[in-house]
Amino acid sequence: MNSWTHAQGVLETPQFEWVALSPTLIVVGAAVLGVLIEAFAPRRYRYGSQVVLAVLALAVAFAAVVGLAANGHAGAEAQIAGMGALAVDGPTLFLQGVLLLIGFVSVFLFAERRLEPAEHGRAVDSFAAQAAATPGGTAEKLAVRSGYTTTEIFPLMLFALGGMLLFPAANDLLILFIALEVLSLPLYLLCALARRRRLLSQEAAVKYFLLGAFASAFLLFGIALLYGYAGTLSYAGIADVISGAPSSQVDPGLAATMGNDAYLLIGGALVIMGLLFKVGAVPFHMWTPDVYQGAPTPVTGFMAAATKVAAFGALLRLLYVTLPGMRWDWEPVLWGVAIASMLAGAVIAITQTDVKRLLAYSSIAHAGFILAGVVAVSPEGVSSVLFYLAAYSFVTLGAFAVITLVRDGDGEATHLSKWAGLGRRSPLLAGVFALFLLAFAGIPLTSGFAGKFAVFRAAADSGAMPLVIVGVIASAIAAFFYVRVIVLMFFSEPQPGGPSVVVPSLMTTSMLGVSVVATVVLGVAPQYFLDLAGQAGVFVR
């Protein structure tokens, strides 16, 4: 009799903590409802019901996160839920809260219908009329004339967000892989859905898909090797085997098959590589500029902010819970990655002529800054990374929202030369963009400064002084091109026939308002939020 052909004992009913997992369940449930709306509701009702559903679901999920945190799940009551698969603790709840806020304001950006000129008397958004229609073909003209719109973007976005909520909570390698795919697959599709410049958008989707799938295959093989090393997929189990004290769940008779260090080193490296790809850190950053440039700008904003938050959350938990015993192996590697990301991102950004590509390289540099906090390996490091992610995501969302508003006859005017003199034509919008650029550069009184200060202080306290010095140099290089854009906007003559600034609806306006308020408040009075991140900085095991 062996274990493959005969059932052993009775299966226990799995324990499932519905309350602790409610934020993710609400978002994914709303996404499923959204698919049903697409299937059954008449076309003219879809847009309104999808927007209302998404906004409601995200608001309720955020309330659930706040309720869980108020009940102490972020501290003393932190627990492992779902039979050890998911951790509901401080970092999880903090990042889930940030992700839900990002999703909430992104819905407004997705739903904006005042930017594109009306087609055949109907207001349209920045997404393709029908994704399957060939660009420029008769099918596309027909779809536009019939007033089709791709309202599937809302359920797709909610599914991606559901995966992102799981990603930082993942407490076992199976959930890590599933969450990665659930967040990636809808994003690949969203990238392909731009209304203007559809060939660029489709090209971005192909590149993102092929490279993303390539990276997740590496992650998966790494998972297989880690499983081969430890004989279990759970983070705590692997950490026990690494520290030389396998838990009682593992059959002692099989101990001989465990503990091959080659599996651990190669597997750990491959898994970290897969996560660094999602983060967009330097050797794995090649997809970032093309995808950021080609994707529809609301999607770029959402993806740039939310993917980074989710992926850093997963990376933190993996490094701090599963692999702390290998710290001396991964720390030098991440040092190198952080330094390369900061320098390469800042230097290559100088040569860019497209605003979206410029922000893409700036996001690579920021991935390096955040990694400096990750390698600090201290509670301050965790909380500084949490704070930086919250601050950075709102600046990014705001900056991409500004880009959606500067338009000429061909849609968004993303070439930098067209932004010359924007400050004279529309001082308010240029001023808002200048604020975001200053926050990216890390000028005091903006959230970017508070975040960078927290991260660099944590890194310096843990003895990573060279990293801090490189970070400051990279910040100085980066400040050069941010300030260059500000000078271009305010101190050059506007070109004749340059872009105009579209007056958006209340949705984008309020979303920009939220981003500006977040940037200023987190910069002027960061202490409350730093304390919040500090309390949330402990992982449950």
Partner: protein, 99 residues
Amino acid sequence: MSPENYLHLSALLFTIGACGVLLRRNAIVVFMSIELMLNAANLALVTFSRMHGNLDGQIMAFFVMVVAAAEVVVGLAIIVMVYRSRHSASVDDASLMKL
């Protein structure tokens, strides 16, 4: 036969897949190479499951199969869409954004 031979086979398949992704130019073939890498990982998972005598790896392999199927749906949709608008599935032709 020692189960370790299956690990060697899985590493070999994974390498062939990775080389295929880097060397082949047709998006469909690149995608097939990625699927080969996923299946190599599945083989490794099942082999380790046999070696350790627990079922975690086999359960993981089931999930990977489902995810791979979902990835095919999304991937082929994107590749076919690009083929229809460009009449080419070569990854070298997708270069509108090169500087």
